[in-house]
Protein backbone atom coordinates (compact mmCIF):
# COMPACT_ATOMS: atom_id res chain seq x y z
CA UNK A 1 0.00 0.00 0.00
CA UNK A 2 2.85 2.37 0.96
CA UNK A 3 4.58 1.58 -2.30
CA UNK A 4 1.42 2.34 -4.24
CA UNK A 5 1.06 5.65 -2.40
CA UNK A 6 4.75 6.46 -3.08
CA UNK A 7 4.25 5.67 -6.76
CA UNK A 8 1.19 7.91 -6.92
CA UNK A 9 3.17 10.62 -5.11
CA UNK A 10 6.12 10.39 -7.55
CA UNK A 11 3.91 10.32 -10.64
CA UNK A 12 1.82 13.17 -9.24
CA UNK A 13 4.91 15.24 -8.45
CA UNK A 14 6.35 14.59 -11.91
CA UNK A 15 3.04 15.44 -13.51
CA UNK A 16 2.70 18.60 -11.47
CA UNK A 17 6.28 19.68 -12.06
CA UNK A 18 5.86 18.88 -15.74
CA UNK A 19 2.78 21.08 -15.79
CA UNK A 20 4.71 23.73 -13.99
CA UNK A 21 7.51 23.55 -16.52
CA UNK A 22 5.04 23.97 -19.41
CA UNK A 23 3.52 26.96 -17.68
CA UNK A 24 7.01 28.43 -17.25
CA UNK A 25 7.54 28.33 -21.03
CA UNK A 26 4.80 30.89 -21.51
CA UNK A 27 6.49 34.23 -21.36
CA UNK A 28 4.55 37.42 -20.69
CA UNK A 29 6.38 40.11 -22.63
CA UNK A 30 6.50 43.69 -21.56
CA UNK A 31 6.01 45.14 -25.03
CA UNK A 32 5.40 48.58 -23.53
CA UNK A 33 8.95 48.60 -22.18
CA UNK A 34 10.24 47.61 -25.64
CA UNK A 35 8.48 50.59 -27.15
CA UNK A 36 9.65 52.94 -24.39
CA UNK A 37 13.28 52.02 -24.93
CA UNK A 38 13.18 52.57 -28.71
CA UNK A 39 14.82 56.00 -28.68
CA UNK A 40 17.62 55.08 -26.30
CA UNK A 41 18.39 51.89 -28.22
CA UNK A 42 18.43 53.74 -31.52
CA UNK A 43 20.64 56.51 -30.15
CA UNK A 44 23.05 53.90 -28.76
CA UNK A 45 23.23 52.29 -32.19
CA UNK A 46 23.66 55.67 -33.86
CA UNK A 47 26.48 56.70 -31.54
CA UNK A 48 28.33 53.40 -31.71
CA UNK A 49 27.88 52.57 -35.42
CA UNK A 50 27.70 56.08 -36.89
CA UNK A 51 24.79 55.08 -39.11
CA UNK A 52 23.04 57.41 -41.54
CA UNK A 53 19.83 59.26 -40.77
CA UNK A 54 16.66 59.26 -42.84
CA UNK A 55 17.43 62.51 -44.69
CA UNK A 56 20.59 60.83 -46.02
CA UNK A 57 18.39 57.96 -47.20
CA UNK A 58 16.26 60.59 -48.96
CA UNK A 59 19.36 62.20 -50.49
CA UNK A 60 20.61 58.88 -51.91
CA UNK A 61 17.23 57.53 -52.97
CA UNK A 62 17.62 58.04 -56.73
CA UNK A 63 20.97 56.25 -56.71
CA UNK A 64 19.37 53.05 -55.48
CA UNK A 65 16.05 52.78 -57.32
CA UNK A 66 15.71 51.49 -60.88
CA UNK A 67 13.25 52.88 -63.43
CA UNK A 68 11.47 49.54 -63.78
CA UNK A 69 11.05 49.20 -60.02
CA UNK A 70 13.12 46.02 -59.82
CA UNK A 71 16.31 45.10 -57.99
CA UNK A 72 19.39 44.11 -59.92
CA UNK A 73 21.67 43.42 -56.96
CA UNK A 74 21.97 39.73 -56.06
CA UNK A 75 20.88 38.71 -52.58
CA UNK A 76 20.82 35.35 -50.92
CA UNK A 77 17.46 34.06 -49.71
CA UNK A 78 16.86 31.19 -47.30
CA UNK A 79 15.58 27.86 -48.56
CA UNK A 80 11.87 27.19 -48.45
CA UNK A 81 10.43 25.34 -45.45
CA UNK A 82 8.55 22.15 -46.26
CA UNK A 83 7.35 20.82 -42.92
CA UNK A 84 3.84 21.76 -41.87
CA UNK A 85 3.57 23.59 -38.56
CA UNK A 86 0.68 24.28 -36.22
CA UNK A 87 -0.16 27.78 -35.03
CA UNK A 88 2.16 27.49 -32.02
CA UNK A 89 4.97 26.36 -34.29
CA UNK A 90 4.33 29.18 -36.74
CA UNK A 91 4.56 31.79 -33.98
CA UNK A 92 7.63 30.21 -32.42
CA UNK A 93 9.45 29.93 -35.75
CA UNK A 94 8.27 33.08 -37.53
CA UNK A 95 8.08 35.75 -34.84
CA UNK A 96 11.77 36.50 -35.35
CA UNK A 97 11.22 37.29 -39.04
CA UNK A 98 8.71 40.03 -38.27
CA UNK A 99 9.80 43.56 -37.49
CA UNK A 100 8.16 46.60 -36.02
CA UNK A 101 8.70 49.52 -38.38
CA UNK A 102 9.32 52.64 -36.30
CA UNK A 103 9.87 56.33 -36.69
CA UNK A 104 12.09 58.63 -34.66
CA UNK A 105 11.66 62.38 -34.63
CA UNK A 106 13.48 65.21 -32.93
CA UNK A 107 11.22 67.44 -30.85
CA UNK A 108 12.82 70.89 -30.80
CA UNK A 109 10.38 72.13 -28.14
CA UNK A 110 11.49 69.56 -25.59
CA UNK A 111 14.89 68.95 -27.19
CA UNK A 112 14.50 65.21 -27.15
CA UNK A 113 13.88 62.34 -29.52
CA UNK A 114 10.52 60.64 -29.77
CA UNK A 115 10.12 57.17 -31.28
CA UNK A 116 7.05 55.15 -31.99
CA UNK A 117 6.03 52.04 -33.95
CA UNK A 118 4.10 52.97 -37.07
CA UNK A 119 3.84 49.75 -39.10
CA UNK A 120 5.28 46.29 -39.64
CA UNK A 121 7.94 44.80 -41.90
CA UNK A 122 9.46 41.42 -42.70
CA UNK A 123 13.13 40.35 -42.99
CA UNK A 124 13.98 38.86 -46.41
CA UNK A 125 17.76 38.44 -46.16
CA UNK A 126 20.24 38.10 -43.32
CA UNK A 127 22.08 41.22 -44.46
CA UNK A 128 19.07 43.39 -43.77
CA UNK A 129 16.85 43.45 -46.87
CA UNK A 130 13.25 43.84 -45.72
CA UNK A 131 9.82 44.46 -47.19
CA UNK A 132 6.96 46.66 -46.07
CA UNK A 133 4.13 48.54 -47.73
CA UNK A 134 4.80 51.37 -50.15
CA UNK A 135 2.47 53.57 -48.16
CA UNK A 136 4.68 53.11 -45.09
CA UNK A 137 7.69 54.53 -46.94
CA UNK A 138 5.86 56.84 -49.39
CA UNK A 139 6.87 59.96 -47.50
CA UNK A 140 10.56 59.07 -47.61
CA UNK A 141 10.43 57.88 -51.23
CA UNK A 142 8.54 60.82 -52.71
CA UNK A 143 10.38 63.50 -50.77
CA UNK A 144 13.66 61.73 -51.48
CA UNK A 145 12.90 61.63 -55.20
CA UNK A 146 12.74 65.43 -55.22
CA UNK A 147 15.40 65.84 -52.53
CA UNK A 148 13.09 67.47 -50.07
CA UNK A 149 14.27 67.08 -46.49
CA UNK A 150 12.28 67.14 -43.29
CA UNK A 151 14.37 68.94 -40.66
CA UNK A 152 13.26 67.08 -37.54
CA UNK A 153 12.72 63.69 -39.13
CA UNK A 154 15.62 61.69 -37.73
CA UNK A 155 15.25 58.01 -38.45
CA UNK A 156 13.16 55.15 -39.75
CA UNK A 157 14.14 51.95 -38.05
CA UNK A 158 12.99 48.42 -37.43
CA UNK A 159 12.80 46.60 -34.13
CA UNK A 160 13.15 42.84 -33.85
CA UNK A 161 11.25 40.59 -31.46
CA UNK A 162 14.36 40.68 -29.26
CA UNK A 163 14.11 44.45 -29.07
CA UNK A 164 17.14 45.16 -31.23
CA UNK A 165 16.83 48.21 -33.47
CA UNK A 166 18.35 48.81 -36.90
CA UNK A 167 18.04 52.00 -38.95
CA UNK A 168 16.81 52.07 -42.56
CA UNK A 169 19.88 52.49 -44.77
CA UNK A 170 18.45 52.60 -48.28
CA UNK A 171 15.33 52.01 -50.33
CA UNK A 172 15.87 49.45 -53.09
CA UNK A 173 12.54 49.30 -54.89
CA UNK A 174 9.05 50.69 -54.75
CA UNK A 175 5.81 49.52 -56.31
CA UNK A 176 3.11 52.13 -55.64
CA UNK A 177 0.48 50.20 -57.61
CA UNK A 178 0.79 46.98 -55.64
CA UNK A 179 1.76 48.82 -52.46
CA UNK A 180 5.08 47.36 -51.42
CA UNK A 181 8.61 48.65 -51.02
CA UNK A 182 11.90 46.85 -50.47
CA UNK A 183 14.47 48.48 -48.23
CA UNK A 184 17.66 47.58 -46.42
CA UNK A 185 18.58 48.30 -42.83
CA UNK A 186 22.03 48.81 -41.37
CA UNK A 187 22.51 45.66 -39.32
CA UNK A 188 25.76 46.91 -37.79
CA UNK A 189 27.30 43.54 -38.61
CA UNK A 190 24.48 41.47 -37.09
CA UNK A 191 22.82 38.71 -39.12
CA UNK A 192 19.04 39.04 -39.22
CA UNK A 193 16.65 36.12 -39.41
CA UNK A 194 15.08 36.06 -42.89
CA UNK A 195 11.82 34.34 -43.76
CA UNK A 196 11.85 31.96 -46.74
CA UNK A 197 9.81 33.15 -49.72
CA UNK A 198 6.88 30.81 -50.34
CA UNK A 199 4.75 30.09 -53.39
CA UNK A 200 1.45 31.74 -54.39
CA UNK A 201 -1.34 30.15 -52.35
CA UNK A 202 -4.63 28.90 -53.79
CA UNK A 203 -7.99 29.79 -52.21
CA UNK A 204 -8.69 27.84 -49.05
CA UNK A 205 -5.05 27.60 -47.95
CA UNK A 206 -4.35 28.24 -44.28
CA UNK A 207 -2.55 31.50 -43.56
CA UNK A 208 -1.23 33.24 -40.45
CA UNK A 209 -0.47 36.85 -39.83
CA UNK A 210 2.07 38.31 -37.43
CA UNK A 211 2.13 42.07 -37.19
CA UNK A 212 1.52 44.96 -34.87
CA UNK A 213 -2.12 46.09 -35.12
CA UNK A 214 -2.40 49.52 -33.50
CA UNK A 215 0.98 49.06 -31.83
CA UNK A 216 0.10 45.69 -30.26
CA UNK A 217 3.46 44.16 -31.00
CA UNK A 218 3.84 40.66 -32.46
CA UNK A 219 0.17 39.76 -32.62
CA UNK A 220 -0.74 36.44 -34.24
CA UNK A 221 -3.98 35.79 -36.14
CA UNK A 222 -4.99 33.05 -38.55
CA UNK A 223 -7.38 32.47 -41.43
CA UNK A 224 -7.56 31.20 -44.97
CA UNK A 225 -7.02 32.60 -48.44
CA UNK A 226 -10.46 33.83 -49.47
CA UNK A 227 -9.69 34.95 -53.03
CA UNK A 228 -6.84 35.74 -55.38
CA UNK A 229 -7.81 38.80 -57.40
CA UNK A 230 -6.44 40.79 -60.35
CA UNK A 231 -7.90 44.30 -60.33
CA UNK A 232 -7.66 46.02 -63.68
CA UNK A 233 -7.95 49.80 -63.50
CA UNK A 234 -9.74 50.96 -66.65
CA UNK A 235 -8.64 54.55 -66.02
CA UNK A 236 -4.93 53.84 -66.04
CA UNK A 237 -4.48 50.36 -67.55
CA UNK A 238 -2.59 49.14 -64.47
CA UNK A 239 -3.34 45.77 -62.90
CA UNK A 240 -3.08 45.19 -59.19
CA UNK A 241 -2.77 41.68 -57.76
CA UNK A 242 -4.28 40.90 -54.39
CA UNK A 243 -4.55 37.87 -52.15
CA UNK A 244 -7.59 38.38 -49.95
CA UNK A 245 -7.51 36.55 -46.65
CA UNK A 246 -9.70 36.14 -43.57
CA UNK A 247 -7.02 36.57 -40.87
CA UNK A 248 -7.57 39.74 -38.89
CA UNK A 249 -5.32 42.76 -38.83
CA UNK A 250 -5.59 46.51 -38.45
CA UNK A 251 -3.78 49.82 -38.76
CA UNK A 252 -0.17 49.24 -37.75
CA UNK A 253 -0.16 45.79 -39.33
CA UNK A 254 0.82 47.35 -42.66
CA UNK A 255 3.78 45.46 -44.06
CA UNK A 256 3.29 42.58 -41.63
CA UNK A 257 3.89 38.98 -42.60
CA UNK A 258 1.29 36.70 -44.14
CA UNK A 259 2.68 33.23 -43.59
CA UNK A 260 1.80 29.87 -45.11
CA UNK A 261 1.32 26.67 -43.08
CA UNK A 262 5.03 25.79 -43.31
CA UNK A 263 6.32 29.17 -42.15
CA UNK A 264 7.17 30.68 -45.54
CA UNK A 265 6.20 34.18 -46.60
CA UNK A 266 2.94 34.11 -48.57
CA UNK A 267 2.51 37.86 -48.76
CA UNK A 268 2.44 41.02 -46.72
CA UNK A 269 -0.47 42.99 -45.32
CA UNK A 270 -1.92 45.53 -47.73
CA UNK A 271 -5.13 47.14 -46.58
CA UNK A 272 -8.67 46.45 -45.51
CA UNK A 273 -12.01 47.07 -47.11
CA UNK A 274 -14.93 47.33 -44.72
CA UNK A 275 -18.44 46.40 -45.76
CA UNK A 276 -21.49 48.00 -44.19
CA UNK A 277 -25.19 47.22 -44.53
CA UNK A 278 -25.58 50.96 -45.04
CA UNK A 279 -22.49 51.87 -47.04
CA UNK A 280 -23.52 55.49 -47.62
CA UNK A 281 -23.36 56.21 -43.90
CA UNK A 282 -20.75 53.56 -43.04
CA UNK A 283 -23.24 52.07 -40.57
CA UNK A 284 -23.95 48.50 -39.47
CA UNK A 285 -20.54 46.97 -40.04
CA UNK A 286 -20.77 43.51 -41.61
CA UNK A 287 -17.33 42.28 -42.60
CA UNK A 288 -13.88 43.42 -43.55
CA UNK A 289 -11.97 42.11 -46.55
CA UNK A 290 -8.26 41.83 -45.81
CA UNK A 291 -6.25 42.65 -48.92
CA UNK A 292 -2.67 41.46 -48.97
CA UNK A 293 0.27 41.77 -51.36
CA UNK A 294 1.04 38.30 -52.80
CA UNK A 295 4.58 36.98 -52.44
CA UNK A 296 4.72 36.46 -56.22
CA UNK A 297 5.14 40.24 -56.68
CA UNK A 298 7.90 40.46 -54.08
CA UNK A 299 9.79 37.59 -55.72
CA UNK A 300 9.42 39.11 -59.18
CA UNK A 301 10.89 42.36 -57.91
CA UNK A 302 14.25 40.68 -57.50
CA UNK A 303 15.88 39.96 -60.84
CA UNK A 304 16.95 36.62 -59.48
CA UNK A 305 20.16 35.46 -61.10
CA UNK A 306 20.29 31.74 -61.55
Amino acid sequence: MRNILRLIGVVGTLWLSGGHLVAQEVVYHDYGAMKDSLSSRMLDFWRSKRCININTVRRDLLENIREDGRIEEAFSFPAKRKKRLDAKGIYRVCKKHVLSFCMMEYRPGTKNYWSYPMASAVVLTADGVCVTNYHVLANVILSGALKYYWPNDFMRMVMTAEGKVYPVRRVLAADPVNDFAIFQVDTGGDRLSPIPLGEPLPEGSDVYHIGHPQGNLFYLTSGIVARNVAIFDKESGHTKLEMEITADYATGSSGGAIIDECGNLAGIVGGTYSMYANPQLSRNFQMSVKKTVPVKLIKECFLLKK
Binding site: L142, A145, L146, Y148, W150, E235, G237, H238
Partner: protein, 292 residues
Protein backbone atom coordinates in the same frame (compact mmCIF):
# COMPACT_ATOMS: atom_id res chain seq x y z
CA UNK B 1 -42.89 83.30 -17.84
CA UNK B 2 -39.91 81.09 -18.63
CA UNK B 3 -41.54 80.16 -21.97
CA UNK B 4 -41.87 83.82 -22.86
CA UNK B 5 -38.16 84.40 -22.28
CA UNK B 6 -37.19 81.43 -24.44
CA UNK B 7 -39.57 82.53 -27.17
CA UNK B 8 -37.94 85.95 -27.26
CA UNK B 9 -34.45 84.48 -27.43
CA UNK B 10 -35.45 82.11 -30.24
CA UNK B 11 -37.19 84.88 -32.16
CA UNK B 12 -34.12 87.08 -31.81
CA UNK B 13 -31.83 84.34 -33.12
CA UNK B 14 -34.13 83.63 -36.07
CA UNK B 15 -34.36 87.32 -36.93
CA UNK B 16 -30.58 87.78 -37.02
CA UNK B 17 -29.76 84.44 -38.71
CA UNK B 18 -30.20 85.68 -42.31
CA UNK B 19 -27.85 88.59 -41.60
CA UNK B 20 -25.28 86.12 -40.28
CA UNK B 21 -25.55 83.94 -43.41
CA UNK B 22 -25.31 86.95 -45.68
CA UNK B 23 -22.25 88.14 -43.77
CA UNK B 24 -20.64 84.69 -44.13
CA UNK B 25 -21.35 84.70 -47.86
CA UNK B 26 -19.86 88.18 -48.18
CA UNK B 27 -16.76 87.04 -46.26
CA UNK B 28 -16.38 84.08 -48.58
CA UNK B 29 -16.69 86.30 -51.63
CA UNK B 30 -14.17 88.76 -50.20
CA UNK B 31 -11.76 85.88 -49.51
CA UNK B 32 -12.13 84.59 -53.07
CA UNK B 33 -11.55 88.07 -54.52
CA UNK B 34 -8.54 88.57 -52.27
CA UNK B 35 -7.04 85.24 -53.44
CA UNK B 36 -7.71 86.12 -57.07
CA UNK B 37 -5.92 89.45 -56.65
CA UNK B 38 -3.05 87.73 -54.91
CA UNK B 39 -2.77 85.21 -57.73
CA UNK B 40 -2.84 87.98 -60.32
CA UNK B 41 -0.14 89.89 -58.43
CA UNK B 42 2.01 86.74 -58.18
CA UNK B 43 1.47 86.08 -61.88
CA UNK B 44 2.40 89.65 -62.81
CA UNK B 45 5.69 89.30 -60.90
CA UNK B 46 6.41 85.80 -62.16
CA UNK B 47 5.57 86.57 -65.79
CA UNK B 48 7.28 90.00 -65.94
CA UNK B 49 8.93 90.21 -69.35
CA UNK B 50 7.33 86.98 -70.60
CA UNK B 51 5.78 86.62 -74.05
CA UNK B 52 2.04 86.95 -74.26
CA UNK B 53 0.06 84.99 -76.78
CA UNK B 54 -2.34 86.69 -79.16
CA UNK B 55 -4.73 83.80 -78.75
CA UNK B 56 -4.79 80.07 -78.10
CA UNK B 57 -6.33 77.08 -79.84
CA UNK B 58 -8.03 74.59 -77.59
CA UNK B 59 -8.05 70.92 -78.55
CA UNK B 60 -9.55 67.78 -77.17
CA UNK B 61 -6.68 65.32 -77.28
CA UNK B 62 -7.68 61.66 -77.41
CA UNK B 63 -5.12 58.91 -77.34
CA UNK B 64 -5.71 55.15 -77.54
CA UNK B 65 -2.82 54.22 -75.29
CA UNK B 66 -3.74 50.56 -74.81
CA UNK B 67 -4.96 48.74 -77.90
CA UNK B 68 -5.42 45.37 -76.24
CA UNK B 69 -7.92 46.67 -73.69
CA UNK B 70 -9.24 49.47 -75.89
CA UNK B 71 -8.31 52.20 -73.39
CA UNK B 72 -8.43 55.83 -74.48
CA UNK B 73 -7.14 58.87 -72.64
CA UNK B 74 -8.73 62.31 -73.03
CA UNK B 75 -7.22 65.64 -72.08
CA UNK B 76 -7.98 69.26 -72.92
CA UNK B 77 -4.84 70.78 -74.37
CA UNK B 78 -4.15 74.19 -75.87
CA UNK B 79 -1.54 75.79 -78.05
CA UNK B 80 -0.75 79.40 -77.19
CA UNK B 81 0.26 81.41 -80.24
CA UNK B 82 2.72 84.32 -80.18
CA UNK B 83 4.81 85.53 -83.14
CA UNK B 84 8.14 84.25 -81.77
CA UNK B 85 7.05 81.17 -79.85
CA UNK B 86 4.14 78.78 -79.39
CA UNK B 87 3.39 76.65 -76.36
CA UNK B 88 1.47 73.36 -76.26
CA UNK B 89 0.25 72.67 -72.73
CA UNK B 90 -2.69 71.36 -70.76
CA UNK B 91 -5.79 73.55 -70.70
CA UNK B 92 -6.77 72.13 -67.32
CA UNK B 93 -5.40 74.90 -65.03
CA UNK B 94 -7.04 77.63 -67.09
CA UNK B 95 -10.28 75.67 -67.46
CA UNK B 96 -10.45 75.27 -63.72
CA UNK B 97 -9.89 78.96 -63.10
CA UNK B 98 -12.66 79.75 -65.56
CA UNK B 99 -14.83 77.05 -63.95
CA UNK B 100 -15.29 75.39 -67.32
CA UNK B 101 -17.62 72.46 -66.78
CA UNK B 102 -16.73 70.88 -70.15
CA UNK B 103 -13.25 69.87 -68.95
CA UNK B 104 -11.99 66.33 -69.41
CA UNK B 105 -10.32 66.66 -65.97
CA UNK B 106 -6.90 65.40 -66.94
CA UNK B 107 -3.59 67.18 -66.68
CA UNK B 108 -0.25 66.15 -68.10
CA UNK B 109 2.36 68.74 -67.05
CA UNK B 110 4.31 68.49 -70.32
CA UNK B 111 5.11 71.69 -72.21
CA UNK B 112 6.20 71.96 -75.86
CA UNK B 113 7.82 75.30 -76.76
CA UNK B 114 8.26 75.82 -80.49
CA UNK B 115 10.34 78.64 -82.00
CA UNK B 116 9.27 78.86 -85.66
CA UNK B 117 12.13 81.05 -86.83
CA UNK B 118 14.73 78.52 -85.64
CA UNK B 119 12.47 75.48 -86.18
CA UNK B 120 13.42 74.58 -82.63
CA UNK B 121 11.32 72.47 -80.27
CA UNK B 122 11.96 72.32 -76.54
CA UNK B 123 10.00 69.97 -74.32
CA UNK B 124 9.84 70.57 -70.60
CA UNK B 125 8.03 68.70 -67.85
CA UNK B 126 7.02 69.89 -64.42
CA UNK B 127 6.80 67.55 -61.43
CA UNK B 128 5.38 69.60 -58.56
CA UNK B 129 7.78 72.58 -58.75
CA UNK B 130 10.70 70.84 -60.45
CA UNK B 131 11.19 71.73 -64.11
CA UNK B 132 12.99 69.27 -66.39
CA UNK B 133 14.26 69.98 -69.90
CA UNK B 134 13.62 66.74 -71.77
CA UNK B 135 14.13 67.68 -75.40
CA UNK B 136 15.78 70.45 -77.42
CA UNK B 137 15.76 69.63 -81.14
CA UNK B 138 15.92 71.43 -84.46
CA UNK B 139 13.94 70.70 -87.61
CA UNK B 140 10.39 70.01 -88.69
CA UNK B 141 8.82 66.94 -90.25
CA UNK B 142 8.85 66.74 -94.05
CA UNK B 143 5.29 67.69 -95.05
CA UNK B 144 3.39 66.75 -98.17
CA UNK B 145 0.75 69.39 -98.92
CA UNK B 146 -2.52 68.16 -100.45
CA UNK B 147 -5.15 70.17 -102.29
CA UNK B 148 -8.04 68.93 -100.13
CA UNK B 149 -9.76 71.56 -98.00
CA UNK B 150 -12.37 71.56 -95.30
CA UNK B 151 -13.94 73.96 -92.85
CA UNK B 152 -13.09 73.63 -89.16
CA UNK B 153 -14.58 76.10 -86.65
CA UNK B 154 -15.35 78.54 -89.43
CA UNK B 155 -11.78 78.53 -90.78
CA UNK B 156 -10.86 77.13 -94.14
CA UNK B 157 -8.23 74.43 -93.66
CA UNK B 158 -5.88 72.62 -96.00
CA UNK B 159 -4.73 69.06 -95.63
CA UNK B 160 -1.12 68.03 -95.10
CA UNK B 161 0.55 64.71 -94.28
CA UNK B 162 3.86 63.56 -92.85
CA UNK B 163 5.66 60.61 -91.30
CA UNK B 164 6.76 61.24 -87.74
CA UNK B 165 7.64 59.00 -84.81
CA UNK B 166 6.58 55.81 -86.57
CA UNK B 167 3.11 57.09 -87.49
CA UNK B 168 1.59 58.66 -90.60
CA UNK B 169 -0.09 61.92 -89.66
CA UNK B 170 -2.80 63.93 -91.38
CA UNK B 171 -3.35 67.48 -90.24
CA UNK B 172 -5.64 70.33 -91.29
CA UNK B 173 -4.16 73.81 -91.03
CA UNK B 174 -5.52 77.27 -91.71
CA UNK B 175 -3.85 80.44 -92.90
CA UNK B 176 -6.82 82.54 -91.81
CA UNK B 177 -5.41 82.88 -88.28
CA UNK B 178 -2.22 84.85 -87.55
CA UNK B 179 1.00 83.00 -86.74
CA UNK B 180 2.06 79.43 -87.19
CA UNK B 181 1.31 76.78 -84.59
CA UNK B 182 0.70 73.08 -84.10
CA UNK B 183 0.34 70.62 -81.27
CA UNK B 184 3.28 68.58 -79.99
CA UNK B 185 5.83 67.84 -82.75
CA UNK B 186 3.58 68.41 -85.78
CA UNK B 187 5.30 71.72 -86.49
CA UNK B 188 6.57 73.45 -89.59
CA UNK B 189 3.44 74.18 -91.65
CA UNK B 190 2.72 77.69 -92.87
CA UNK B 191 -0.38 78.15 -90.72
CA UNK B 192 -2.19 77.02 -87.61
CA UNK B 193 -3.09 73.34 -87.27
CA UNK B 194 -6.67 72.96 -86.07
CA UNK B 195 -7.00 69.19 -86.37
CA UNK B 196 -4.50 66.34 -86.42
CA UNK B 197 -4.62 62.59 -86.29
CA UNK B 198 -2.61 59.53 -87.21
CA UNK B 199 -3.94 57.23 -89.90
CA UNK B 200 -5.22 54.70 -87.35
CA UNK B 201 -7.11 57.46 -85.49
CA UNK B 202 -5.32 56.47 -82.29
CA UNK B 203 -3.90 59.91 -81.56
CA UNK B 204 -6.27 62.76 -82.35
CA UNK B 205 -6.31 66.49 -81.69
CA UNK B 206 -9.82 67.83 -82.36
CA UNK B 207 -10.43 71.56 -82.57
CA UNK B 208 -12.35 72.75 -79.51
CA UNK B 209 -12.42 76.52 -79.90
CA UNK B 210 -10.31 79.64 -79.90
CA UNK B 211 -9.34 81.28 -76.61
CA UNK B 212 -8.94 85.05 -76.55
CA UNK B 213 -6.83 86.60 -73.78
CA UNK B 214 -8.49 89.02 -71.38
CA UNK B 215 -7.10 91.54 -68.93
CA UNK B 216 -7.71 89.13 -66.07
CA UNK B 217 -6.52 86.07 -67.99
CA UNK B 218 -3.57 87.01 -70.20
CA UNK B 219 -2.02 84.10 -72.06
CA UNK B 220 1.57 84.10 -70.86
CA UNK B 221 4.32 82.05 -72.46
CA UNK B 222 7.33 81.79 -70.23
CA UNK B 223 10.11 79.32 -70.74
CA UNK B 224 11.45 78.20 -67.32
CA UNK B 225 14.32 80.37 -66.08
CA UNK B 226 15.91 77.54 -64.16
CA UNK B 227 15.69 73.78 -64.24
CA UNK B 228 15.78 71.20 -61.52
CA UNK B 229 19.14 70.38 -60.00
CA UNK B 230 18.12 66.74 -60.09
CA UNK B 231 19.88 64.82 -62.88
CA UNK B 232 17.66 64.64 -65.96
CA UNK B 233 18.65 60.98 -66.49
CA UNK B 234 16.80 60.24 -63.25
CA UNK B 235 13.61 61.82 -64.63
CA UNK B 236 12.04 58.47 -65.65
CA UNK B 237 12.47 57.13 -62.08
CA UNK B 238 11.01 60.28 -60.56
CA UNK B 239 8.15 60.34 -63.05
CA UNK B 240 7.29 56.70 -62.36
CA UNK B 241 7.15 57.26 -58.61
CA UNK B 242 4.97 60.36 -58.86
CA UNK B 243 2.81 58.98 -61.65
CA UNK B 244 2.00 55.77 -59.82
CA UNK B 245 1.60 57.46 -56.44
CA UNK B 246 -1.13 59.69 -57.75
CA UNK B 247 -2.38 57.57 -60.60
CA UNK B 248 -5.98 58.61 -60.20
CA UNK B 249 -4.77 62.08 -61.00
CA UNK B 250 -7.19 64.09 -58.93
CA UNK B 251 -8.11 61.91 -56.02
CA UNK B 252 -4.93 60.14 -54.98
CA UNK B 253 -2.63 63.07 -54.36
CA UNK B 254 -2.52 62.38 -50.64
CA UNK B 255 0.84 60.54 -50.59
CA UNK B 256 2.34 63.35 -52.61
CA UNK B 257 0.86 66.04 -50.41
CA UNK B 258 1.84 64.18 -47.23
CA UNK B 259 5.44 63.87 -48.43
CA UNK B 260 5.87 67.63 -48.12
CA UNK B 261 7.20 68.11 -51.65
CA UNK B 262 4.45 70.58 -52.45
CA UNK B 263 6.24 72.98 -50.07
CA UNK B 264 9.70 72.48 -51.55
CA UNK B 265 9.57 75.63 -53.63
CA UNK B 266 9.34 78.49 -51.14
CA UNK B 267 8.06 80.72 -53.91
CA UNK B 268 4.89 79.23 -55.30
CA UNK B 269 4.32 79.29 -59.01
CA UNK B 270 1.25 81.28 -60.04
CA UNK B 271 -0.08 78.33 -61.99
CA UNK B 272 -0.76 75.87 -59.24
CA UNK B 273 -0.89 72.61 -61.09
CA UNK B 274 -2.46 69.72 -59.27
CA UNK B 275 -0.04 66.89 -58.47
CA UNK B 276 -1.01 65.04 -61.61
CA UNK B 277 0.99 63.34 -64.35
CA UNK B 278 -1.97 62.70 -66.67
CA UNK B 279 -1.18 60.27 -69.48
CA UNK B 280 2.10 59.33 -67.78
CA UNK B 281 0.13 57.76 -64.94
CA UNK B 282 -1.30 55.30 -67.46
CA UNK B 283 0.30 52.06 -68.57
CA UNK B 284 1.00 53.08 -72.16
CA UNK B 285 1.49 50.04 -74.41
CA UNK B 286 0.86 51.94 -77.64
CA UNK B 287 3.10 55.02 -77.44
CA UNK B 288 2.52 58.17 -79.50
CA UNK B 289 6.11 58.10 -80.68
CA UNK B 290 6.91 54.56 -81.73
CA UNK B 291 10.42 53.15 -82.00
CA UNK B 292 12.40 54.91 -84.71
Amino acid sequence: MKHMVWKRILLGVLMYLPFGVTAQEADRRADYERLQKLRQAEAATFYAGADTARYAIRYLWTFRYDREHGLTYREDRMVLVAPEVTLDMSYQPMGERLRDSSLAYRLTPSFYYYYPREKRLKRTYRIISEEFLLQDTLGDPAWELAEERKDIGGYSCRKACCEQGGRRWTVWFTTELPGIAAPRCLTGLPGVVLEASDEEQEVVWSYNGKIEPTEEEPLYIKFPETFSELPVEKFPVILRLFALSGRNNFSAGSYIEASGVMNKSGKLLPEKLLPSTGIDACRVTNPVERAK
